[in-house]
Symmetry: none
Subunit: 252 residues, 2 copies
DNA sequence: CTGTTTCTTGCATGAACAGGCAAAACATGC
DNA sequence: GCATGTTTTGCCTGTTCATGCAAGAAACAG
């Protein structure tokens, strides 16, 4: 096995899973962990990945401490949600994908063989989508907000205004039947509203801790939600409320 | 077995498998490994493949090379260039940074403690910049081109038109005194031209292999280059030509 | 704080490599 | 046929490179 081949395979797995483990790679390639670590060091020097204790992760599309903390949180749950959310897609659709770690997980979960047009203001989502050859990617530019990992502002709004989508994967900061979908930041909420306006349907995937919470800025009412992807352990009373508002509930 | 026949068979296998092993070819052709290595050396000189320890891999330097392969190429040189290029920065400046692996290296080399405003259409550059807390990042969105790693198109042009910068780090595909700076893609060249128009000075950092080469689409004349960052081993005759056009040469 | 895992560094070893040399194969001219 | 020059090839030389191992440092978990 050539060194270059290992490099390529590591990059492939990184694109697919978002992370690699040193020990796992060593046994898969039949080389010592030292060699794998050397490979990872080399790839990190080339900027292809970021080394972490135990292996490496896809080159940080975001760096804010807040974001990387959040992304460590509830990884399994988000991956499960992502797999379920991807089931809502069909070939040829056009999507808006919002920011947030759950939406990044969804982007990574999209299979390689489905053709889509995706517009996103999240660098993390965009990075994940670059691994997919059949996805036509439109980056919604603007002022980048490190805490959110997304672009916001007038430029972003203008870019959104020119597009329309079948589905909008809305990253929700708070979700409550009475208050609807809410966000922590004014400019962020404005972009989300614009995306919602130009989409035929809204999809929200949330972990349990987001259910029945609310943030200051309102994005959309609960009745605007077409698909709600939740964990199996989500409280059924809350779900019933959303269903009565017309949302279709999917369990991860 | 004729030498040319071996060349052909090597290229065939390369097209099929993406890689060849020196020892394997030697036994298949019934010649010594030295002969195979000579063959590989010749084919590499002709640009048909890229030699690696143990054999060779498909090269396709411009057409099919993936971004990740390009970024693994000449890592040391690019890092050195990047360090030198960063020396041109001063606090408070605003920049355009173009795509390309050299510019990604430059973005990674920017120290954490310098305050800048940076606009880029490259996802790789943007990712690197998110690690810098003092950098105000503006993402220039648009249609994403996987081969380039950048956004291009009308949206990108519109975003560039609204901005101005002190320096423009131009990723150059080809650099020749007579032809100036040239690019391989029409839309890409258009974005570069727009950035150049709105910048006070152009900086180009190139490895030796880009010097004295040209691509189809013209971006700017040699006289537009303010700073040229090159390796110590760059041919001095070529550099003198650029200097006579007003470029300031910096050695990495 | 303590033990464990992971990581870096230096080193040794064998494989792969470049360059020089000479023999063999081939072509060319007389 | 013979001499000459060129090309190709294999072998030999020292060098470089990739890898695994060991020891110490650092990061993590309890």
């Amino acid at each position: 096995m050539l060194t270059e081949e290992r490099y390529q395979l590591i990059c492939d797995q990184l694109a697919a899973d978002g992370r690699v483990l040193a020990g796992e790679l060593a046994s898969r390639f039949g080389v010592s962990e030292d060699t794998v670590r050397r490979d990872l060091r080399e790839l990190a020097k080339a900027g292809q990945l970021r080394r972490v204790y135990g292996g490496a992760v896809a080159s940080a599309p975001f760096a804010a401490a807040t974001l990387s903390q959040r992304s460590r949180h509830a990884v399994e749950e988000k991956t499960r949600l992502a797999k379920a959310a991807v089931g809502l897609l069909s070939a040829g659709q056009s999507l808006f994908i919002d920011g947030g770690t759950t939406n990044e997980a969804i982007a990574r979960a999209i299979p390689r063989d489905v053709q889509l047009t995706v517009a996103t203001n999240s660098l993390g989502v965009a990075s994940a989508l670059t691994a997919l050859p059949l996805v036509e990617l439109i980056v919604l530019g603007g002022r980048y907000v490190p805490d959110l990992g997304t672009c916001v502002g007038a430029d972003t709004l203008a870019a959104v205004a020119q597009l329309g989508a079948d589905l909008f994967f809305l990253g929700s900061c708070g979700l409550d039947v009475a208050r609807g979908v809410t966000a922590f930041d004014s400019a962020e909420a404005e972009v989300k509203r614009a995306m919602a306006r130009n989409s035929a349907g809204i999809v929200i995937a949330v972990t349990n801790d987001k259910l029945a919470t609310a943030a200051p800025y309102r994005v959309a009412g609960a009745e605007a939600i077409r698909h709600l992807v939740v964990e199996k352990t989500a409280p059924s009373a809350t779900l019933a409320d959303f269903q009565s508002q017309g949302a279709q509930v999917h369990f991860a």
